[in-house]
Amino acid sequence: MISMSTRTVTTESTLIRWLLTSVAVAFLTLFLLMPLAAVFIEALRRGWEVFLASLHEEAALSAVKLTLITAAVAVPLNTIFGIAAAWAITKHRFRGRPLLLSLIDLPFAVSPVIAGLVFVLLFGAKGWFGPWLAEHDVKIIFALPGIIIATVFITFPFVARELIPLMESQGTDQEEAAVTLGARGWQIFRRVTLPNIKWGLLYGVLLCNARAMGEFGAVSVVSGHIRGKTNTLPLHVEVLYNEYQFSAAFACASLLAFLAIFTLGMKSVVEHFSGHSANGRH
């Protein structure tokens, strides 16, 4: 297809190609492969027994449980929001659409630490609702509700950001045809829209989940680091690391690294099935 002559004018000489590829591969190896390998090698440095024992420890198990509970609440909430927001924004035209889009992106521009801080200001002991909450014996900060709400804030845009460009590119013709044929709202979504967006939706949910389980800064502010009680898995990693239990810290970190590898693998699967590239930012 490509004749020799066009090949030589639109690509670089073999030497330059080889040089650029080497530098790029060296950079990626140093910056991506080495850290990933380091997690697992450091985790196994003192052998399988220490590795398994660190995961079976009670504090580790309770951290895993807390992380799973948090994701189990935050991910469905933000999935429902993501679908609703994408439906409103892509299937309808209204004033203030660009503003709404920027506001949905807002959590990306807010430091995780600030995300945690705002909830301390609202619900903390010296916060606005603090005295009222103390009177009614409700604990939000340094307890599960605070961890969940901070995670919801951080993972807020993920599903919406994946669905909006996808649904925008698909237009509204199919839904309009369905209306003409007498379909009702929920029917249209389930039978017409959902089959078109299922892979994008799946990837958005997986990204949201990866961030929900891995969130550190925001959760760190609201959790209070109570061992066995309010430590999520990333916080447990921090505590172990600061106690110089490096092998145990990396053993728990390797669980989170597995989650990251799984998420990246699923992205390739989704791209394969959906036929075009998933958005995948953040």
């Binding site: 492969l33 080495m34 600030i114 200001l121």
Partner: protein
């Protein structure tokens, strides 16, 4: 635009979206601004002008800008190689670029420490040459580059893939060499995407916490980033100070992002 709405569910989906957005994001952020504005001008000036805050701000914004700039250089190189060349392992490396997005920041933090600390994988080797790459500015910079460069690759990649070879062929027909073609034809088309990539990497780096605090060492006045300073205020129950620093940080980063956005629009305009 007097067309009647055909597709149902507008009121419900928009109503839910706005309510949820207000409850989770807007009202809490408004609470932060109200708290910060309750502090008077004097308090603002004395707090934000204090040496510790200024040192942290200089480190946070400086290292973030440097990391985003280096991310642009390596992001451009990596994207070029991934899009244009075929080599074994290309698809794997392409998929791996997203790792910093998917890897929890605390994991990234302790791992970078294991690599760059003076007794670490690379750190030990660097120490022999008298280079220290952790617990100082360099450490912060390394962590922020790790977090930032995927943003550049992922914004640049679709633009580079859509670039037709026709213009390059035309330029070659007119006698331009490969380097001239890149510099005068290809590169200008990539500039808007590079600026977007820079902005995203920069914005993320300013707020970054988990991947930085382990490798930075958190020495006040020296290697302490703004988010860590906010946490220190909270631990001493200085809510006002935390709110003022956080608001100042948000305002500066919003202003910078707006500025870069305007610059980009101007560039887009010139290209049209």
């Amino acid at each position: 635009m007097s067309r009647k709405r055909v597709i149902p569910g507008f009121g419900l989906s928009l109503g839910f979206t706005i309510t949820y957005l207000s409850l989770i994001i807007l009202i809490p952020l408004a609470a932060l601004f109200i708290k910060a504005s309750a502090a008077g001008w004097d308090e603002w000036i004395s707090l934000l002008g204090s040496p510790r805050v200024l040192a942290a701000a200089k480190l946070t914004f400086g290292a973030s800008a440097a990391a985003a700039a280096v991310s642009v250089v390596f992001g451009l190189l990596v994207t070029w190689v991934l899009v244009r060349y075929e080599f074994p392992g290309r698809r794997l490396l392409d998929a791996m670029v997203d790792l910093p997005f998917a890897l929890p920041t605390a994991v990234a933090g302790i791992t970078l420490c294991a690599i760059y600390a003076p007794n670490g994988w690379i750190g030990e080797w660097l120490a022999k040459w008298g280079i220290q790459a952790a617990y100082n500015w360099t450490g912060v910079f390394i962590a922020l580059t790790f977090i930032g460069f995927p943003f550049v690759v992922r914004t640049l990649q679709p633009v580079m893939e859509d670039l037709g070879k026709e213009i390059e062929e035309a330029a070659a027909t007119l006698g331009a060499g490969r380097w001239t073609i890149f510099r005068r034809v290809v590169f200008p088309l990539l500039v808007p995407a590079l600026i977007t990539g820079f902005t995203l990497a920069f914005a993320r780096a300013i707020g970054e916490y988990g991947s930085v605090i382990f490798i930075s060492g958190n020495l006040p006045m020296k290697t302490e980033i703004l988010p860590h300073l906010i946490i220190m205020q909270l631990e001493q129950f200085k809510y006002d100070a935390a709110a003022v620093i956080a608001t100042g940080m948000l305002l500066v980063s919003f202003a910078l992002l707006l500025l870069i956005n305007l610059l980009q629009r101007r560039l887009d305009w010139q290209h049209r």
